[in-house]
């Protein structure tokens, strides 16, 4: 038994090193495979999406089974984001509690959704059928355009007093038994969950599977759009109140930098991985001019701070980044992972070369509707074109393979091992 455990640990360390080498654009034995798997292990292990969100034990078993059977270099099992704004509100009160609360929904599943009654998410087995993926949307803006100044003047008090009651149904009236009880309940569940999380990380070490990411650095524009204003309305604000949007981004930059560093530190200590997940969404919608005005300066500042603190920003450049590739060259060499989604990987490789590690893969549609042969061909082509002499990680778009055919995912794994050899 102890021998098995040791070999699990050896495997774990070997994978950490393989990913580190790829990050430094050094040649390794083969291209690593690291994927944001979220829903797929649940489907593979035969549990419902409802169980995945609400039965942490079953989900933990499903993820470890998947990790053992597929033996990928890293996977990620973060789930949702309902408690992020509540956590953000507590940043000035106590950073460590703020982080715990913000990450509770990310790591702990659907329970914070039930306790807080947030208006962000529709959950499987709650608002949705038990096997529908959770969906995150803001229907009406939580912060109105005429409230920008209030937010800027006193951000945390404004969030706590005005915005939190709008977001969370159970915190609608903060001095009510319902709200006080809900917060106490959230705290006690959080206390129960923390040891379970450490146990899960240990189990993942036993099966030799590091996290693709377990730390998070959000950026100002995306955070403000996705959690506080709403996604498309903020895009109009860029034209209507550009200076105020910039002031908000300036205000949020140091706070979110600290979130990245704090979660990075926790993750590094618990898992040995230096990667900090930096999701980037608005980039796909913005022209280079707008991106450089409203998004990149703040994002870049956070990235540079993370690098200075010894972390590896994992830039999840969602949607298309084709028009913005040059920005990657402005970052210190071999210090980040540029994870592409719909961006043309060949073009990205042409522009970035061996300057930074690139992560990318094949279209999820092929895994859903294609054949095993087609999957194999696509993986082979990608490897031939971009694996180069190192500095490539095979991955898939964020949370995209819930509906993939199991046999196609197996064919993909086999092809990565075969054609990813150096």
């Amino acid at each position: 038994m102890s021998k098995t455990e040791k070999s699990g640990e050896d495997l774990y360390n070997e994978k950490i090193e393989r990913l580190e080498a790829a990050t430094k654009v050094e040649k390794t034995d083969r291209v690593p495979i690291a994927v944001s798997t979220t829903y797929f292990p649940a489907k593979y292990a035969g549990i419902s999406y409802e169980q995945m969100f609400y039965d942490n034990e079953k989900y933990s078993e499903a993820v470890t089974k998947f990790a053992r059977d597929f033996n990928w270099d890293a996977i990620s099992s973060l789930r949702s984001f309902e408690s992020v704004t509540l956590g953000l509100t507590l940043a000035a009160f106590d950073p460590s509690i703020a982080i715990d609360v913000a990450t509770f929904s990310v790591l702990g599943g659907g329970i914070s959704h039930d306790i807080l009654g947030d208006k962000y998410s529709l959950m499987p087995g709650r608002e949705l059928s038990e096997n529908t993926e959770s969906q995150f949307v803001i229907k009406e803006p939580f912060i109105n355009i005429d409230e920008y100044d209030l937010f800027l003047e006193n951000p945390f008090e404004f969030l706590a007093e005005t915005i939190i009651p709008r977001i969370y149904k159970n915190l609608e009236k903060l001095n009510s038994p319902n709200a006080i009880g809900s917060l106490i309940k959230l705290g006690s569940e959080l206390g129960l969950f923390k040891p379970k999380l450490l146990e899960f990380i240990r189990k993942m070490k036993d099966v030799g599977c590091p996290p693709w990411y377990c730390a998070l650095a959000p950026n100002p524009l995306d955070t403000f759009g996705a959690f506080l204003r709403n996604f498309d309305t903020l895009m109009l604000d860029l034209y209507r109140v550009p200076d105020k949007v910039k002031k908000i981004c300036e205000l949020l930059t140091p706070v979110l930098t600290e979130v990245g560093k704090a979660t990075g530190k926790i993750s590094l200590e618990a898992t040995g991985s230096r990667r900090v997940f930096c999701p980037v969404w608005y980039s796909t919608y913005l022209s280079p001019k707008m991106y450089r005005e409203f998004h990149w300066p703040y994002l870049k500042s956070i990235i540079l701070s993370l690098i200075d603190a010894g972390f590896t920003p994992l830039l999840s450049l969602q949607g298309s980044y084709d028009h913005l590739l040059e920005t990657i060259l402005e970052l210190p060499e071999k210090k980040v992972i540029a994870w592409f989604d719909k961006t043309n990987l060949r073009k990205a490789k042409d522009v970035i070369g061996n300057y930074q590690c690139i992560a990318g893969g094949i279209s999820p549609s092929i895994l859903i509707g294609g054949t095993e042969n087609k999957v194999k061909e696509e993986v082979k082509n990608i490897m031939n074109d971009v694996k180069s002499e190192g500095g490539f990680i095979f991955t898939l778009p964020f949370n995209s393979i819930g509906d993939a055919k199991v046999e196609n995912v197996k064919a993909m794994t086999k092809a990565v091992l075969e054609y990813g050899k150096y």
């Binding site: 993926e133 109009l236 034209y239 919608y285 022209s287 298309s320 719909k342 279209s363 509906d403």
Partner: protein, 211 residues
């Protein structure tokens, strides 16, 4: 050049306040509302050209569509009756299982700005909703939108339902959204796909002979 002539460029340059002011002034001075509408459409065409040239991206399209919508709201009550025939009819919805509608709403604004009659059947629309709307509105085109990967299967089920109901002939189907690509299009058996709203609208225009 009178003020109205500036409206197309004003809209194309995303000057919201000026576009609204010109519209109001023109209406007050008795300009034919159809002329205002025509100028706005010209503006949208310029915006489309700039998108093609990659000067504009989606945020500019959203802003342009927003200005167009506001101008339309001012102009519409003054139009006695829209006598012109629409460029084409389209039924559009986000497929069952998906509640995202940002992409769909942008496409709708641009379709309307291009002269289409659009029937929006909302989000999380089951195949039956598509079927009943096709029967009711008799569109040339059906648009299916999604954000999530899981919706690709939902799109396939919807297309199959349309086939089974013998409504597929003479109907063009376009799928759109963040996760669609050629492989998704082949799998779903749609006629076209687009992950960009303006490109999707161009395809629709070609189908009804509008380009």
């Amino acid at each position: 050049m009178n003020k109205l002539d500036e409206l197309a460029d004003t809209l194309a340059n995303l000057d919201e306040e000026k576009a609204i002011a010109i519209t109001k002034e023109s209406l007050e001075s008795g300009v034919d509302p159809m002329k205002i509408l025509d100028m706005c459409r010209k503006g949208i065409v310029i915006v489309g050209d700039r998108f093609e040239k990659e000067e504009y991206f989606l945020s500019e399209m959203i802003m342009a569509a927003e200005i167009f919508k506001q101008v339309m709201n001012l102009v519409k009550p003054k139009l006695k009756k829209i006598t012109e025939k629409p460029l084409g009819k389209i039924v559009i919805g986000t497929v069952q299982g998906d509640v995202h509608d940002i992409g769909k709403n942008i496409v709708i604004s641009l379709l309307e700005a291009s002269g289409f009659e659009v029937h929006d059947i909302g989000i999380d629309a089951p195949p039956e909703k598509f079927l009943s709307s096709i029967k009711e509105f008799k569109p040339e085109i059906v648009g299916m939108s999604c954000l999530l990967t899981l919706s690709i299967k939902s799109m396939k089920r919807t297309v199959e339902a349309i086939e089974k109901s013998n409504l597929r002939d003479n109907l063009k189907i376009i799928i759109g959204g963040g996760r669609v690509d050629k492989d998704a299009c082949d799998y779903v058996k749609a006629d076209a796909y687009s992950d960009s709203a303006p490109k999707g609208v161009e395809i629709c225009k070609k189908w009804v002979g509008g380009v």
